[in-house]
C-alpha cells in the first residue's frame, strides 16, 4: 500500500509542481505584497491592512466596481438571451444554418483589442454619419458620455460573445432527444410552450456553463474596455481590471493594486461559485 501511495504522489507531482509554481506561489506572493508598500521595484515595508482600508475609501475603485457589476448583469442577460436565440434559430430547419453559425461565431475569433477599435470606429464614425444624415443628435455623441460608453461596451461584448455562447447552447440543444420535442408536440404544446416547458428546463446545464463563462468574462473584461473607451470619459467607464492595471502601472502603487486584485478575486470567486451552485440545483439529469 505504501508504495502505491508513493507512486500515486509521484505521478501527481508534475501537475502539482506546475500548479504550485504558476498559481499557488504567485497567489501567496500577491497576498503578501498586498500588505506592503511595494512599488514594483522594491518590496517596501509592511503596512498591515492599510491598503485594504484605503481601497474601501477609494471612490474610483468603488465606482469601477459598481460600473463593472452593472455591466456584467446587463451583459450576462443580453449575451445569454442573444446566444440562446441564435442557437434556436440555427438549430431550426432553415437552409443557411451552417453559414449562419459560422457568421455568428466569427466575432469571437477576432481579438478583443481589435474588436474594440472596430466598434469604436462604428460608434464614433458610422453612428455620427448616420446621425448627421437623419439629424439625430443622440447618435453623434457615442462613447463621449458615460451612458453611451456603457451601452457601447455592452453591445461590443454581446456581439463578440453571443456567437460563442450560441455554440454552447447549440451543443445542448442538439443533445436534446428529438423524441422529447416530438412528444411535446403531440402533447399539444405550441412552439412557445415547447420552449418554455421542455427546451428551457432541459438546457439548464448550458446555462450553468454559459452563465459562468459570461459572468467571469464580463467581470474580468480588460482589452475591449481599453480599446473601446479606454475608461473615458473621465474614467467613468473604467472597469475593475483596468482600474487595477492603472493603479499598478500608471500610478506605480503596485501593493495597493495587489490589494484591489485580491478583493476583486474574492468577489469574482464568490459570485462564480454562488452562480454555479444556484444553477446546478436547477439542472436535470437526463
Amino acid at each position: 500500500m505504501r508504495t502505491k501511495d508513493f507512486a500515486y504522489w509521484l505521478f501527481l507531482a508534475p501537475v502539482l509542481i506546475a500548479l504550485t509554481l504558476v498559481v499557488v506561489v504567485p497567489m501567496l506572493l500577491g497576498v503578501y505584497y498586498s500588505f506592503t508598500s511595494w512599488n514594483g521595484i522594491t518590496t517596501g515595508e509592511y503596512v498591515g491592512f492599510q491598503n485594504y482600508i484605503n481601497l474601501l475609501k477609494d471612490e474610483r475603485f468603488l465606482d469601477s466596481l459598481w460600473f463593472t457589476t452593472k455591466f456584467s448583469v446587463v451583459s450576462v442577460i443580453l449575451i445569454n438571451f442573444i446566444g440562446l436565440s441564435l442557437a434556436l434559430i440555427v438549430t431550426s430547419r432553415i437552409k443557411s444554418s451552417n453559414l449562419l453559425r459560422t457568421t455568428f461565431f466569427m466575432p469571437n475569433l477576432i481579438g478583443g483589442l481589435i474588436l474594440g477599435f472596430i466598434w469604436q470606429f462604428i460608434f464614433i464614425k458610422v453612428f455620427a454619419s448616420v446621425g448627421e444624415m437623419v439629424g439625430m443628435e443622440s447618435l453623434q455623441v457615442w462613447l463621449s458620455t458615460t451612458e453611451t460608453g456603457f451601452w457601447g461596451l455592452v453591445i461590443l461584448m454581446s456581439w463578440q460573445m453571443a456567437g460563442y455562447i450560441m455554440v454552447i447552447y447549440i451543443a445542448y440543444l442538439q443533445g436534446l432527444p428529438k423524441e422529447l420535442l416530438e412528444a411535446s408536440e403531440i402533447d399539444g404544446a405550441s412552439s412557445f410552450q415547447r420552449f418554455r416547458y421542455i427546451v428551457f428546463p432541459l438546457v439548464a446545464p448550458a446555462f450553468t456553463v454559459s452563465m459562468f463563462l459570461t459572468l467571469s468574462n464580463t467581470f474580468k473584461l480588460y482589452d475591449q474596455n481599453l480599446s473601446l473607451t479606454g475608461g473615458g470619459p473621465y474614467n467613468s467607464t473604467e472597469m475593475v481590471a483596468m482600474e487595477i492595471f492603472n493603479t499598478a502601472f500608471v500610478q506605480n502603487t503596485f501593493a495597493y493594486a495587489q490589494a484591489k486584485a485580491i478583493i476583486f478575486f474574492v468577489i469574482v470567486a464568490i459570485v462564480a461559485l454562488f452562480q454555479v451552485y444556484w444553477n446546478k440545483r436547477r439542472e436535470v439529469e437526463m
Binding site: 508504495t3 509521484l10 505521478f11 508534475p14 512599488n39 473615458g232 470619459p233 502601472f249 500608471v250 502603487t253
Partner: protein, 433 residues
C-alpha cells in the same frame, strides 16, 4: 516483479518532471550565452518605437567600428507599457545596461541602478536646462534623447485665405480674434471647425496643455514641481480660457476625439485649421500628405494670459540611463556608446538626419533640421522663448488620470472648472503628503 514495476513508474514520472523543468529552464540559457568570447555585450532596453529601425542601423554602424562591443536592442513601446516592461525586465534578473527614464520620479524609483554620467562628453555637451530633471546632488544620472516642443499647429493656407497673419498672433486676445475670424469664414474655407481638441487623449490636456500653465508657477523647473507639496494653479484662468476656446471652436464631441482623428483625419485633410500638438505630429501629417506637412504648416505658441504669451513649451521627453549594477566594462562601454551617439560626427549626423531629432546637445548643424515643426521648436529654443516641461514632475498619474480625467468631466459638463481645479489640488497634496 512488483519492485521492477515500481521502478519503471518512478523512472517515467521523473522523466516527465525533469523534461518539464528542463523546458522551463532552456530559454534562459540561450540568452546567457550571448556574451561570446571577450566581447562586451550592452543590452539596450528602449521605448521609442518610431525610430527603432534607424536606431538599429546606427548601432550596426557602431558595432562595425567597435568590433569588441556587441549591442542588443530591445524596443518596448508604442501600445505597450514601457514602465511595466522595464520593471519585469529587472525583476527577471536580466537587467539591461542602457534603459530609459522619464524624469524625477523615475530617477527616485531607479536611483539604486543609475550610474553617474557627469563625466561623459554627452553630459558636457547637453544644452542648458536639459539635465535638470535627472540631476541629483549635482550628479547627472541621465542623458537626454532629444528635445520636443508643442504648440498650436496651424494650416498656413487657411490662415492666408482668412486674411490672418500668423505673426500677428502674439497673445491670447489676438489668438481669440483669429479663431473668431476663422470661425466666421468656416463655409468659405470649407472647414468643419477651427480646432480639433482631442479630449480623449488625456496626455494632450492633462499633461501638455496643463504644463503650459503650471510650468510658470514652478519657474519651469521640473524639480521644483517634483518637490512641491502643493500646487496653486496661479494661471488657472488662463488655462480655462485656452481650454474653452479650443473646446468651443472644436469639432464635437471633444471627449471622444482622439489623436488620430485630430491629426490625421481632421487636420491633415484640412478640415480644421488648428490643433494643439507637438513636432512629433509631423510624421503623422506627412503620412497623409507629405507636401502639406513640409510646406503647409507652422506652429504657434500657446499664450499664457498674464504671463508670457509667446513661449513654446519645449523639453526633453525621455532620458537614457546606464545601469551601474553591471560589470565595470559594460558600464564603460555603455557610456562610450552614448558619447559616440551624441558627440561623434557620425552620431550627430544620424541623430539629426536619420532620427530627425531636435538635438538636446551643442555643436549640431541645425540647418539639417528639415521639418517645419521641429524648426519652429528649435528656433524657439534658440531664442529662449520657451516654457519648460514640468509634467515629468507631476505626482505619478496625476496629470492624465486625475487632471486629464477631470478635464473630460469638465468638457462633458459634469463638473465646473472650480471643481476640476480643487480636486486636482487636493489630489496633488494627498499624493505628496
Amino acid at each position: 516483479m512488483k519492485e521492477f514495476k515500481f521502478k519503471k513508474e518512478l523512472l517515467a514520472s521523473l522523466l516527465v518532471t525533469t523534461s518539464l523543468l528542463a523546458a522551463c529552464g532552456n530559454g534562459g540559457d540561450e540568452e546567457g550565452s550571448a556574451a561570446e568570447g571577450d566581447k562586451v555585450t550592452v543590452d539596450i532596453f528602449q521605448f521609442k518605437v518610431e525610430f527603432k529601425e534607424q536606431f538599429e542601423n546606427v548601432v550596426a554602424m557602431y558595432e562595425k567600428e567597435n568590433p569588441d562591443v556587441n549591442i542588443e536592442i530591445t524596443t518596448v513601446g508604442g501600445g505597450e507599457d514601457y514602465g511595466a516592461a522595464l520593471r519585469s525586465k529587472f525583476a527577471s534578473g536580466n537587467e539591461p545596461a542602457i534603459f530609459n527614464i522619464g524624469g524625477p520620479q523615475d530617477v527616485a524609483d531607479w536611483k539604486d541602478s543609475l550610474a553617474p554620467l557627469s563625466d561623459t562628453a554627452a553630459a558636457e555637451a547637453a544644452l542648458d536646462g536639459t539635465l535638470e530633471g535627472v540631476t541629483v546632488d549635482s550628479e547627472v544620472l541621465g542623458l537626454p534623447y532629444n528635445q520636443e516642443g508643442y504648440g498650436f499647429i496651424y494650416n498656413i493656407r487657411l490662415f492666408e485665405e482668412a486674411g490672418i497673419d500668423p505673426a500677428s498672433i502674439t497673445d491670447f486676445a489676438s489668438l481669440e480674434e483669429a479663431v473668431k475670424t476663422l470661425d466666421s469664414k468656416k463655409e468659405e474655407l470649407e472647414i468643419e471647425s477651427v480646432f480639433a481638441l482631442p479630449g480623449k487623449e488625456k496626455w494632450v490636456t492633462g499633461l501638455h496643455l496643463s504644463n503650459t500653465f503650471i510650468a510658470p508657477e514652478f519657474d519651469h523647473n521640473v524639480l521644483d514641481a517634483y518637490d512641491s507639496k502643493t500646487i496653486d494653479f496661479t494661471y488657472s484662468d488662463a488655462f480655462k480660457k485656452i481650454l474653452d476656446l479650443q473646446n468651443e471652436y472644436s469639432k464635437q464631441p471633444t471627449v471622444s476625439l482622439d489623436y488620430s482623428q485630430q491629426v490625421e483625419e481632421l487636420f491633415s485633410l484640412e478640415r480644421v485649421a488648428m490643433i494643439q500638438q507637438g513636432n512629433w505630429a509631423y510624421g503623422s501629417i506627412a503620412g497623409i500628405d507629405p507636401e502639406f506637412a513640409d510646406n503647409g504648416i507652422g506652429m504657434l505658441p500657446i499664450p499664457v494670459e498674464g504671463y508670457e504669451e509667446g513661449g513654446l513649451p519645449v523639453g526633453v521627453p525621455m532620458y537614457w540611463a546606464v545601469n551601474k549594477n553591471l560589470d565595470e566594462e559594460v558600464v564603460e562601454a555603455s557610456k562610450e556608446f552614448m558619447d559616440w551617439l551624441y558627440t561623434s560626427e557620425a552620431g550627430k549626423t544620424a541623430v539629426v538626419e536619420d532620427f530627425k531629432f531636435i538635438p538636446a546637445y551643442e555643436g549640431y548643424d541645425t540647418s539639417k533640421i528639415s521639418d517645419p515643426l521641429s524648426k519652429a521648436v528649435y528656433d524657439a529654443s534658440e531664442a529662449g522663448e520657451t516654457i519648460g516641461w514640468v509634467f515629468m514632475g507631476y505626482p505619478t498619474g496625476w496629470g492624465e488620470d486625475e487632471l486629464g480625467s477631470n478635464i473630460q468631466k469638465y468638457l462633458s459638463e459634469e463638473a465646473t472648472w472650480e471643481e476640476v481645479v480643487d480636486s486636482a489640488k487636493a489630489a496633488w497634496e494627498s499624493s505628496r503628503q
